[in-house]
Amino acid sequence: MGTARITSDPLLLEELLLGSPTPTDGAQVVFVGVVRNHAEGRPVRGMRYEGYEPMALEVLQAIVGEAEERHEVGSVVAAHRLGELEIGEASVAIVVSGPHRDAAYRASRYVIEEIKRRLPVWKHEHFVDGGERWVPGTHLTPDSPAPYTPGDPGLPLPPREVQGHG
């Protein structure tokens, strides 16, 4: 059921919504992450996303599978974009459909938090003042069980070690 996509093409919501909801679904939760014009108070001009594509696809497929397994949802579709993005363009889109809203919200949240923690993708921020930087990220560690806990309130997980690049 779940679909994962890593692409350099613009993310089209209509496309990601195809086939959803099904007749058994009562709730649909869509998350879209977009490039915004500021970071920590500094005006941003755009963002370049770089990924380790084959690994990113495998990790995203795993995340989508986990979301479907751990939450009672009908289907999860997640897509992450790579390349040069302008302000307002979508970098990530997640569509969750299922019988009940609570599980749909939780699954949606699970996918975006895991994307931020685990997806081998990096972003290079271009500031309006001409500066640029690699956005500080999360240090990956050898595969550990995913951080889901039965009481998971659908909230962000405690951050793992966050650091600038080495």
């Binding site: 992450g33 996303y49 770089e50 990924g51 380790y52 084959p54 690994m55 990113a56 495998e58 990790v59 992450h80 970098s91 990530v92 975006i112 994307i115 931020k116 923690r117 685990r118 997806l119 081998p120 993708v121 990096w122 972003k123 290079h124 690699w134 956005v135 500080p136 990220g137 999360t138 240090h139 990956l140 560690t141 050898p142 595969d143 966050v162 650091q163 600038g164 690049h165 080495g166």
Partner: protein, 81 residues
């Protein structure tokens, strides 16, 4: 054995290339590989001494034993989304 090692994002910029071929003794571990890579000097020596390393698209412990044909990548802290 010979291995192609991939570098991404800030690491790629640091070492100035997206990949290098490294020759290692049979039974070498990720730890040995990191040492060998950092010994190349210049940008390579500025890589962290404990970078995240993926073998065949999974992050592994540094004690992991490498095999000929493995797909190896040095991964800076990730920031997707």
């Amino acid at each position: 054995m010979d291995l192609d090692v991939l570098f991404f994002a800030s690491y790629r910029e640091l070492v100035g290339t997206p990949s290098v071929r490294i020759t290692l003794p049979v039974d070498a571990t990720v730890s040995d590989l990191v040492e060998e890579v950092r010994a190349r000097g210049e940008g390579f020596s500025r890589l962290p001494d404990r970078p995240a390393v993926a073998v065949n698209r999974s992050v592994v412990p540094h004690a992991h034993r490498l095999e000929s044909g493995d797909e190896v990548a040095f991964l800076p802290p990730v920031a997707g989304g």
